[in-house]
Amino acid sequence: MYSPKVMQHFSNPQNVGEISDADGVGEVGNPVCGDMMTIYIKVKDNVITDIKFKTFGCAAAIATSSIITTMAKGMTLEDAEKIGRKDVADELGGLPPQKMHCSNLAADGLKLAIENYRRKLQGLPPKSGVTSGEER
């Protein structure tokens, strides 16, 4: 059911862990399947210099978290923000239809981490997010 790339990222995920002094943290969950993800970023000169994740979820959730961290590393915040769930899925060689929402979780988690980084700069409290899992 999963592409070889998904299985590769699932069995050998990149950038697992947390960053204790992260500049931005995005915590998202899908209430339907119960999966949850936290993404941590370090930012320097508007560029994501380090990124890590923790995920409670299915193989697709783990693989999408892993791949999005490899994609976003080194990107400017503006570019990273533009990573959509389809980009994540494409990069993985496709996901089964019922698993597309898992890539949503990863894309939303990253966006939220960036948003929270910006909020932090403005002295605002961080937000946490719920993703619907619905098609968008």
Partner: protein, 391 residues
Amino acid sequence: MKKVYLDNSATTRVSQEVLDAMLPFFTETYGNPSSLHTMGQEASAAVQKAREQVARAIGADAEEIIFTSCGTEADNLALVGTAYANRKKGNHIITSSIEHPAILRTCEFLEKEGFRVTYLPVDRYGMVSPADVEAAIRPETTLISVMAVNNEIGTIQPVREIGRIAKEHNVYFHSDAVQAVGKVPINVKKDDIDMLSLSGHKIHAPKGVGALYVKKGTRIQALIHGGGQERNMKSGTENVPGIVGLGQACEAAIRDFDKNTAHMKRLRDKLIEGLLKIDRVRLNGHPTIRSPNNVNVSFSFIEGESLVLFLDMSGIEASTGSACSSKNLKASHVLLACGLPPEEAHGSLRLTNCAFNTEDEIDYVLETLPGIVDRLRAMSPLYKEAARTTT
């Protein structure tokens, strides 16, 4: 790599004796049982022998066995067939909330057809209460359908009490015994069962064959019409090799019942004991009143699909109650009905053995699993929070 198959509630391997019994019916005695010539009559005799073998396994008479294509078809025939045939008497059916989809989806279909269905709750061990069954009976109730053994958590239902209640109230009682035959004693006469479904591929016969026992005198309507095979209840040329295989499997299941169930129980208990040593794990289903081959556990903070895939990479084939891979992302309806919170229900793992599994295999699982659990927990954002709150 070692291969350990522990998904026997999904399907079993065909045993050698079943295969040997079936083989001649593919290439030598391949007649149509409806044909008058010798080979046709030989095939017909083989089907009749299988009917007796199946009947003997559940304490029925041979004429009361209808061969079907699978357990699902047997369930559909039992429910839809009696609902339609007894419509004049009433339109109410009682079932449990933890039945197999073959029952639940069929009940939903009947609801659309204007029938009313009561879905009984279960306790935390997945057990239906006979008192609830009795309380749910109304004058218009025609059928009670409660499974004998739950496919996910292995809980054995109080079938005999339910049968007695059904009889007292003059309501038909159907039991889906697909996971029960060969694992728990079941006798349609002693248990007052009017209809019982069973399936070949769960007891070392091939896929594509099942049976429905229908007690003499039960008003039931056919769903498949045609040449009138199986006493008009299931038209279509008989799957002779499959039926022969089912017959042989039933004979073996009864002949070796004590030996096999003792062995399965030993493996099950060894597995449960070993798994419960892992931190934050819970046993789902009843601690003692459970199928000898079923282990179902939930590991907090991790999700079932990931666990099953990692196990598979280590050669261990198991299954999960997490519906993550299906269209419906909700956790197992059985575990939710037992009161598990969704995140726990998503983290469940089902390991079901059979008489062919060995102690060595269980040792291998117990050596392999803790490492996988640790690995997934290290990835889980929930684990750290939990560690924080408990320390």
